[in-house]
């Protein structure tokens, strides 16, 4: 495992200026992904998982946001050091993103063809080489024709029947699930190295969720994708991913393989989270929650941010816990454990 990871987030600190003061939204996020990984980032609402995901393509509005410390390394290069133009080129070439709500993420005033062809053109070519729509040179026409063919191919890839015909439709003529398929097609247009999916099924109803997850699974296999999947749904994690990182209040608290995490959760927060999921093996037990509330991020607790709610709290919890390696794949940020390696 000495090769450079595909994505490595190191000690990422992000603050937001709010009316109540400075919210320390991310306070030292560490995360590593190898090429080919399908990694889930889970946590409650407000724990910073979406912000971590948005920090990679640098789509966090700044101001009010501000990255105060840390690195986002993509194959060893720090994305935070790139200029806006380099970043735009980087997003086009290496990243694909899917967002939560397929209704608001497509532009309502343009046909799917227009949007998908632009996605193809700007991901496959440098922005200044994409011809304007009024350019009718043979090169421009060929480019548009190729992009159109690629668009049809992508529609088929994401399982939209009649893809060629449906390209002429507008977003409002598609159902929610179909729109999410279109958005996946757009994200994949340039064959990205990394697909970041920010709660891609949260806004869909359950049967459609299953279809979209199935599609993502198929695409991962077919295209050998690396995926960072943001979700708060542990069922989605179990069905889709191999690895998982659990976040709490702006930090990753546990990283492990999915199997290990469900069988053997180490961090008290993870244990609470998994206990809170009803299973068919414990039918009559009432649902168990984690007592307390997520902390106010303008005044976060010192040390381990979970300690005020932790059933196993100790004096050392006032200090920020280091990563403890329990096995090659299992890391936990908790004072209860010692390095096993």
């Amino acid at each position: 495992m000495s090769s450079t990871p595909l994505l490595e987030i190191k000690d990422l600190h992000l603050e937001f200026k709010t009316f109540d003061g400075v919210a320390k939204v991310l306070a030292g996020v560490n995360l590593t992904m190898q090429r080919g990984d399908v990694l889930a980032l889970v946590g409650e609402t407000g724990c910073g998982k979406s912000m971590t995901a948005l920090a990679v393509p640098r789509l966090i509005p700044m101001p009010p946001g501000k990255i105060t410390r840390g690195q986002v390394l993509f194959e060893g290069q720090d994305l935070l050091k790139k200029s806006p133009e380099e970043m735009q080129r980087f997003r086009a070439k290496h990243l694909g993103m899917i967002f939560q709500d397929p209704t608001t993420n497509l532009n309502p005033l343009f046909t799917i063809r227009e949007q998908l062809i632009d996605a193809v053109l700007y991901q496959q070519h440098d922005a200044n080489k994409v011809p304007s729509k009024r350019n009718f040179s043979s090169r421009a026409r060929t480019m548009r024709k190729q992009a159109n063919e690629r668009a049809i191919e992508l529609m088929n890839l994401v399982g939209i029947q009649d893809g060629e015909k449906r390209l002429s439709d507008y977003p409002h003529q598609f159902s929610g699930g179909m729109r999410q398929r279109v958005l996946i097609a757009m994200a994949l247009a340039g064959e990205p190295d990394l697909l970041i999916a920010d709660e891609p099924t949260t806004a869909l109803d359950v049967t459609i969720q299953a279809q979209i997850l199935g599609l993502i699974r198929d695409l991962v296999k077919k295209l050998n994708l690396s995926v960072l999947l943001i979700t708060h749904n542990l069922g989605v994690v179990a069905k889709t991913c191999e690895k998982v990182a659990v976040m709490y209040a702006g930090r990753v608290v546990e990283e492990s393989s999915v199997k290990d995490l469900f069988k053997n959760p180490k961090h008290p927060y993870t244990q609470g989270l998994i206990n809170a999921v009803p299973t068919r093996h414990t039918p009559r037990r009432g649902l168990e929650g984690i007592p307390g509330l997520i902390p106010n991020l303008t005044q976060p607790p010192e040390g381990c941010r979970f300690h005020p709610r932790c059933p196993k709290v100790m004096d050392t919890c006032q200090q920020i816990p280091e990563a403890r390696r329990l096995s090659a794949e299992h890391k936990v940020y908790c004072h209860l454990y010692e390095d096993a390696l």
Partner: protein, 337 residues
């Protein structure tokens, strides 16, 4: 085509609208206190003279009959006569209306283009120097009364700098381009008369600029607000995430979302400009409808008043129809029902 049939239907609906408008104006202009005949005939006129005038203009007949005969004449292309100057209203309108229309169109075009641009620049530089600058400049011009600005522009650009003429549509020594539409710019293009085009544009520039300031301000503010709203939409983040350059995201995808509101305000402002052109026309000696309206109204000269009202009604209705059609072209979700 759907759009074509929609247009025809709206045109047909225009007919009852204009009937209503004419009935209303007719009634109001007749029940207003005051004696138009007395005003026209002058203070020394005898009862007989007034009586004969009344007879000539059909004022001795009952009101419904007067209205019906007016409408009947209208269909024969007779818009009546001015009680005062005895000139045909139709021929007066033919002279004055195109001048006002050209001035208003130029002003709204100017306000529309620069207002949209300033709005976009302001939104993209929200609360930074260009935004504040645009706000201050726009407020500066809209805060001064139009007549004062008009005179200042005349003084500075006309008299002191001598860059622009201080009034009129053309040099008095110049023959206007052959009349096709009555809009000098359009006519000179249609007849390939470039000299007239240059002159007409030169004369038009300052009056149109002064007239446009009010509209420019509202268009800028509305565009700014709607750009900010559109920039905040999820699809903007998505388009950026796909790696599209900002110029494509902003000018292709965001602007169209913001422009629907801008279009509404442009249509509204057009009406205001046309009605408000009178001050600018008076100062720049622009032979438009403005003065004609004021004089006719003061003299209760009902035939011109009717004619002007109907023309305005037609123009506003057409602007509205075109705006509604443009909505549909901009936003596919809008259907013509």
């Amino acid at each position: 085509m759907k759009l074509g049939s929609y247009f025809l239907r709206r045109l047909l609906l225009l007919i009852p609208l204009l009937f209503g408008l004419s009935l209303l104006t007719f009634t109001v202009s007749r029940i207003l206190p005051g004696d138009p005949v007395g005003l026209a005939a002058g203070p020394q006129a005898t009862e007989e003279i007034k009586e004969s005038l009344r007879k000539e203009f059909g004022l001795d007949k009952p009101l419904p009959v007067q209205y019906l005969s007016y409408i009947g004449n209208l269909f024969r292309g007779e818009w009546g006569q001015s009680l005062y100057s005895r000139r045909e209203v139709a021929s007066d309108l033919k002279v004055y209306f195109p001048a006002t229309l050209e001035l208003t169109l130029a002003a709204i075009l100017f306000a529309g283009i620069f207002g949209t641009l300033l709005g976009v620049v302001s939104a993209l530089n929200r609360n930074k120097l260009p935004d504040h600058l645009a706000r201050v400049v726009v407020l500066f011009f809209v805060s001064f009364p139009a007549f004062w600005l008009a005179m200042m522009f005349q003084l500075v650009f006309g008299l002191a700098l001598d860059w622009f003429p201080i009034g009129k549509r053309l040099n008095i020594l110049m023959t206007p381009p052959q009349t096709i539409t009555g809009l000098y710019l359009l006519d000179s293009i249609l007849t390939w008369n470039w000299k007239a085009f240059r002159m007409a544009a030169w004369h038009l520039f300052i009056p149109a600029l002064v007239l446009s300031f009010g509209a420019l301000a509202s268009i800028t503010r509305i565009t700014r607000a709607n750009m900010l709203e559109a920039l905040d939409k999820d699809f903007v983040r998505m388009e950026r995430a796909l790696g599209m350059p900002d110029r494509v995201v902003i000018f292709k995808y965001v602007l169209r979302n913001a422009f629907i509101a801008t279009l509404t305000i442009i249509a509204l402002e057009f009406g205001w400009l046309m009605a408000g052109a009178v001050l600018v026309e008076t100062i720049f000696d622009w032979p438009g409808l403005g003065l004609y309206i004021v004089e006719s109204s003061l003299r209760l000269d009902f035939q011109p008043i009717m004619g002007i009202t109907i023309i305005y009604g037609i123009v506003f209705s057409l602007v509205n129809i075109f705006t509604d059609m443009a909505y549909g072209l901009l936003d596919p979700r809008i259907r013509y029902g």
